[in-house]
Structures are given as C-alpha cells and as structure tokens.
Subunit: 209 residues, 2 copies
DNA sequence: CGTATCGGATACATACTTGTATCGTGAACA
DNA sequence: TGTTCACGATACAAGTATGTATCCGATACG
C-alpha cells in the first residue's frame, strides 16, 4: 500500500491545456461532421481527419463515439443557454428581449443553421439510446428553465399575461423554432426567420397586433 | 423496328400482384426499422429479414436503399394526406375539424408515434441528399396544400379571420406538431397531445379562450 | 403438358468502421 | 540534463454493410 501522506503524484495539471485543446478541436470537427452526415453517417475517422488528428488521439480523449456525442450535446446546450442569457442581458424592451431570445434559441448567427441540425440529430439519437436520452433530456430541461426565467421576467415587467402557462409557452417556442428551422433546411424561404418573431410571437403572447 | 401494330407483349400484368405484395411488405418493414434505427442505422438486411425475405428480393424490387427511402416517404406522405382529408370529411364543427386535422397531422393512432419519427428521419435525410430532398419537399408541399384547403374551408365557414396568412398558419401548425412530438419522444409528458389542440390552437386561431 | 419468364434465394467480392494494442516522441519536472 | 510519462501515431483484428452475379423454382401461357 502506498505511503498515506505522500500524494502519489499531483499530475502535471488537472487536465493539461494541451489535452483540453485537442478535445476542443475534436469537438468542433465533430459538430461539423455530425451536422453534415448524421450520427451514423459520421465516422470517427473523418472527424479526426478534419480536426487534424488520427483516431489514436480520439480514443485517447473519448471512450467511444457515443461518449463523444454526450460531451458534444452538453457543450452545445451550454452554448444555447449562453446565447439566451446574453440576449436577456440586453437592456432592451421586453418585446425585443423575447424576440432576441427566440432568435438565440434558433441558432448561432452565421453558422448556417448547423446548431438546429445538431439539435435534431441529438434528439433522434437520444430517442434510441438510453444513456444519450438521459443526458439530452437533462440539457433540454436546463434550456427550458433558462427560458422560463427569462420569459417570466420579460412578461411581468411588461405586465402582460400569457394565454398559457410559461412552461407551455416555452415548450411551444422551442418546438416551433426547432420545427420551422428544420423545414427551412429542405425548403429555403419557408417561414422565414423574422416571421416567427414578428407574426407568431405576438399571437402567442396574446397581444393583438 | 418492331411491327407497329403488334403490342410486343402485354406482360402478365402491368405489375404483378405478387410483386406488389412483396414491395408492400418490404415497405412496411422498412418503416419500422427506419423508425427504430434511423436511415444509416437501418440495414437492408434487417429490413428484409423482418419482411420475411432475403436481400435478393429487395434488390429485385428497389434499386438501392436511397430508392427505398423515396418510395417510403411518398407512401407516408400519402397516408398523412389521407388522414387529413378523412378528418376533414367528418361533419363536425369547424373547431372540431381543425382539432382532428391537427391530430391527424401528428400521427397515425396506435402507431406509437412512429410516423412523426419517420418524418423527422426523412427530413434529415432530405437535407443531405439532393434526390431525396426534391422528393420530400414535393410531398411536404402536397401536405401543406391539403391543409391550406381544409383550414381555409373551416375558418370561412366559421367566419373568423386568422391573425396570419393561412399558409403561415399551416406551416406553424406543422412545425409545432413535428417539434412537440419529437420532444415527447425523449421526455414523455412534455406538451401532451391534447394541449396543442386545446391550448395552443385557440390562441393561434386568434380566438380568446 | 411443355416452356419461357418472373420473382426471389444464395453466394460472393469489396469496402468500411470501430475499437484495441502497441509504440515513439517530446514536454515537464527533479 | 536526464528521465519519465502523457499524448498522440501506427498497425491490426474483427465485424458488418452494400451491391452484384448467378442460380433455381413456381407460375402463367401457348
């Protein structure tokens, strides 16, 4: 047995910066490839290639492809929450805040709607894999909670009453952005970005246009 | 050149009943397996096995897996349109008709929400494959047209004005059912079936509850 | 009743993918 | 400056997929 008071070896760093960087590059590449090819269509090989590594690096950082998806979905959900809270921090009118939140929920600007594609991909994968389902459901819940918080804040400060519970409103908003953006990927021009905020949002808020 | 007036050979049947039956069984099996495993995850082998055939039968009826998806998505869209028009034919009140149409759009009863899963799967595949995209976009358009027709009929006979164009309304409805049912697959109990018709629909119709 | 052909089975060639086991190199620490 | 170990590369072992080429039996027709 090892000497009790001698810390076996405080490793060079908790997790070295280098390791962190490779993980990040692999995750970036993975988000591209998953969006382009889907979970099964994406190969570990292509992900590593695009990240500039070989599969050796991959299996040194992730235990499997499924493991990678868990990490990736977590990171993506955190990014969404980040965008939501950032949009909420702007000192604009409550309506503007809600619009911005809608937009933030939809996708990262300039990313060619990759994020919503990934979300769909994660969801489908989660339907089929129990581990991924637990993880993804937790992430979705975090996103919903962030949204409920923001929406509650916005509507009380504007002193309006939603025609449904805030939770329902948030779920509807999420389903709607998800569904409409997916549609737009096969039929550009269908239900444009702005229409959701300008046409549907007021109706859902119960505000006469 | 063949003698003009002698029809070369009116084949046994345009397409023999037996062939038709096999194709149908394969399509049924395919809709199960695609829903369970996704496009890439589904193997031709498993589809055939479940249909009670070997791959020989498959490649004798379809030229490839992609070809199968095209046929399957067409069949599925036709089923949806069938359900929609059937729901519209009921001589109920316009509100009831719209509710029924919503429900019909969502899924085939008793099919464990397989249809909406397939729809998502088709959509994702269509995003990535040009051929599938053309076919699926056409099917989606047909569904929308059927919906616009029904909705227009229902609202004029009830003499109300939508707070948006009928086309927008229909797109919103489709995005919403699609998105919410997908959510429900990973988190049962989220935005229940009835809530859409009873809570959201009236709001979208611009009717005070 | 013989026969052509259709429909499906079998067998095969080929290509890919995942994951493991092993090895080498360079950075950080004593 | 020597040494160790972390990190990533290389090589390998299976397993699995698609699609093709060929074969065989049943069915419909003359």
């Amino acid at each position: 047995m090892p000497p009790p008071s001698a810390p076996v070896s405080p490793p060079r760093a908790r997790v070295s910066a280098r390791r962190q960087a490779t993980r990040s590059r692999v995750l970036d590449a993975a988000s591209e490839v998953f969006a382009e090819r889907g979970f099964h269509g994406a190969t570990v090989e292509e992900i590593c290639e695009r990240a500039g590594f070989t599969r050796g690096a991959f299996y040194s950082n992730f235990s499997s492809k499924d493991d990678l998806v868990i990490h990736l979905s977590t990171r993506q959900a955190e990014a969404v929450i980040e965008r939501i809270t950032a949009a909420a921090r702007t000192e604009a009118s409550p309506e503007a805040v809600l619009g911005a939140v809608f937009a933030a929920l939809a996708d990262e600007p300039g990313r060619h709607e990759r994020s919503v594609l990934l979300t769909t991909e994660f969801t489908l994968h989660a339907i089929r894999d129990a581990g991924a389902r637990r993880a993804w459901a937790a992430q979705q819940r975090r996103i919903r909670e962030a949204l409920v918080w923001v929406v509650d804040d916005a509507i009380t400060s504007r002193d309006i009453t939603l025609p449904m519970t805030t939770d329902q409103f948030v779920r509807v908003a999420m389903a709607l952005t998800q569904g409409s953006m997916t549609q737009r990927l096969i039929e550009p021009g269908a239900l444009e970005r702005g229409e959701l905020e300008q046409v549907v949002l007021p109706v859902l808020l119960g505000v006469s246009p």
